[in-house]
Amino acid sequence: MKIVVFVKVTPDTAATVKVDDSGNVTWGDAPLVLNPWDEYAVEAALQTKEAHGGSVTVVSMGDESALEAIRRALAMGCNDAIRIDDPALAEDDTLSTAKVLAAAVQKIGDVDMVFFGRQAIDGDTGLTPAQTARLLGWPYVGLVAAFRELDADGGTFTAERAIEEGRQVVASKLPAVVSVAKDYGEPRYPSFMGIRKAARAKVPVWSLADLGIEAPAVKVRLTQLMNPPKREVQCEFIEGETPEEIAEKLADKILAEKVL
């Protein structure tokens, strides 16, 4: 199995993200991490390789900071890595990103399975995986919670998708694109050896010329970034002698809000 997993680097979930006076996004000295949803994708890709043989290539499009995410994925056990970077990619949207990622899959060649995270926690769009699948013309199975079976030689697999109503079990042909849901299971921690290997790894950089494409047009633009209005809530603490008294008062307060 030749497997590709796409990952993105994002500020840590605990980061305080703000727009500064010049309109730029900052997160102070909070660390950059492998997008948390992508950890599940890396885990699923690695388990698939471990069960069926082959290799996992981690690919990220981004400037040098993307190496934070790439190294984490390598440390978890990915075999090799590619970073895609080009001055012409300074602006992007999900569709332009998907076009670049699809071109990368074509260039890598003979890929059987492509893994994505559910969404990137910076832009929070969750569009890129399905778009890449459509551009490749490959089947897409989104939000995989579990694989029931995978027949690498026969080129088929069956997966459970996590949907609002529970699980949809889908049989698909390979090659295919999947995104991985948190239900898949906890991602592994990198081993000490893994971390050392990842730190030493040389990560090749592909430009648009290497991919043989022009910079794709960008159609969605963020025209303004804002700090959300402050939620000025003053908490009214409900007190009383007994739980019953507190509950009585609280229920009345809630009923008076007319939200029931």
């Binding site: 569009l127 699948a133 490959w138 989104g142 529970g166 698909s172 969605v220």
Partner: protein
């Protein structure tokens, strides 16, 4: 011809999801501002009831692709059908509810039609003929204004961010049937089966949510059954008892049950219930947080709730900074008392 403003109707096996009607309402709003026609797009097999509902919720027209290959949702044939229909009537805008299928189809349609997609918006306006959307980014830590170039503009609407119109069953309109010429044998995916979870109120669509955190297991007075001896198992058992209390209050209020990640990770309740950055993003009218500290990742999922109520033993818990009402106390005492109080006051 007036502009076609489409609203995609998401359904599960022929039953429409409520956020679809929010999209129809938003399409009407846009149609008024842009001078157009609010059109519902229904894809599926045997969809007559949904078509009628779409009119009732305010669609002026329905574009319908009714085809056996659409009996089971899969993104490929659904996108093909949508692209075929869009080719025939060139919509200016296609709105989707940000459900699992809605987001996926919007993404695919964007790729197929080479159109910009703006995901998960909470507001939208028309400025000089241009649709300007607002969407949370960085888990709601920032807001962004986003615009798309060209047509169609594809936009997905955050669930509960746009009002659901009042239905009127007497309304009807024109149904435009599109033959998408789908061929099931050419579809690379097949649905094997569904494993649906027990009903209950859907978390993202819920108007009221009662949530529990790690604190729900904190009741030393509770004696576990003698066959449970393992420390870990005892904690899980305690947590489950705590969620029984939460569930009882939720039932009285007609609410959905939410949870923090700590409660999910500890095994008190399945992941489906997790609220937060790596769980579900919810925006109910009322969110009651019991034994939840209010970590930033939890806040990311529930910050936009209208009224937040917190019950926590620790007066310093960050959740109180978001809460309209707070009780510093033991949820094991407060939650059952609150349930009784509501039962009495709501006549249940």
């Amino acid at each position: 011809m007036s502009k076609q403003i489409w609203a995609y109707i998401d359904h599960f096996k022929g039953e429409a999801l409520t956020p679809s009607w929010e999209a129809v309402g938003a399409a009407r709003m846009l149609a008024e501002k842009l001078g157009g026609e609010a059109t519902a797009v229904v894809l599926g097999n045997g969809m007559d009831a949904v078509v009628q509902q779409a009119f009732a919720y305010g669609a002026e027209k329905v574009v319908l692709v009714d085809d056996p290959a659409l009996a089971d949702y899969r993104p490929e044939p659904y996108t093909d059908a949508l692209v075929k229909a869009a080719g025939e009537s060139a919509p200016a805008v296609i709105l989707f509810p940000t459900t699992t299928r809605g987001r996926e189809l919007a993404a695919m349609a964007g790729a197929a039609l080479d159109a910009g997609v703006i995901a998960d918006i909470i507001e939208m306006d028309v400025v000089d003929g241009q649709i300007v959307t607002t969407r949370p980014v960085y888990a709601g830590k920032l807001l962004a204004k986003a615009v798309a170039e060209g047509e169609p503009q594809i936009i997905t609407l955050r669930v509960r961010a746009f009002a659901k119109p009042e239905p009127d069953a007497s309304r009807s309109g024109e149904v435009v049937k599109v033959d998408a010429g789908l061929d099931e044998s050419a579809v690379a995916t097949k649905v094997v089966e569904y494993a649906t979870t027990e009903g209950g109120v859907s978390l993202t669509e819920a108007a009221i949510i009662v949530s529990g955190g790690r604190g729900v297991s904190n009741n030393p007075d509770l004696t576990p059954p003698p066959d449970i001896t393992d420390e870990n198992e005892i904690e899980i058992w305690r947590g489950k008892q705590g969620f029984k209390l939460i569930g009882e209050l939720a039932e009285t209020l007609g609410a959905a049950v939410g949870a923090s990640r700590a409660a999910v990770d500890a095994g008190y309740i399945p992941y489906d219930h997790q609220v937060g950055q790596t769980g579900k993003v919810v925006s109910p009218d009322l969110y009651i947080a019991c034994g939840i500290s209010g970590a930033i990742q939890h806040q990311a999922g529930m910050r936009n709730s209208k009224i937040i109520v917190a019950i926590n033993t620790d007066p310093e818990a960050p959740i109180f900074k978001l809460a309209r009402y707070g009780v510093v106390g033991d949820l094991w005492k407060i939650v059952p008392a609150l349930n009784e109080a509501f039962k009495k006051k709501l006549g249940k």
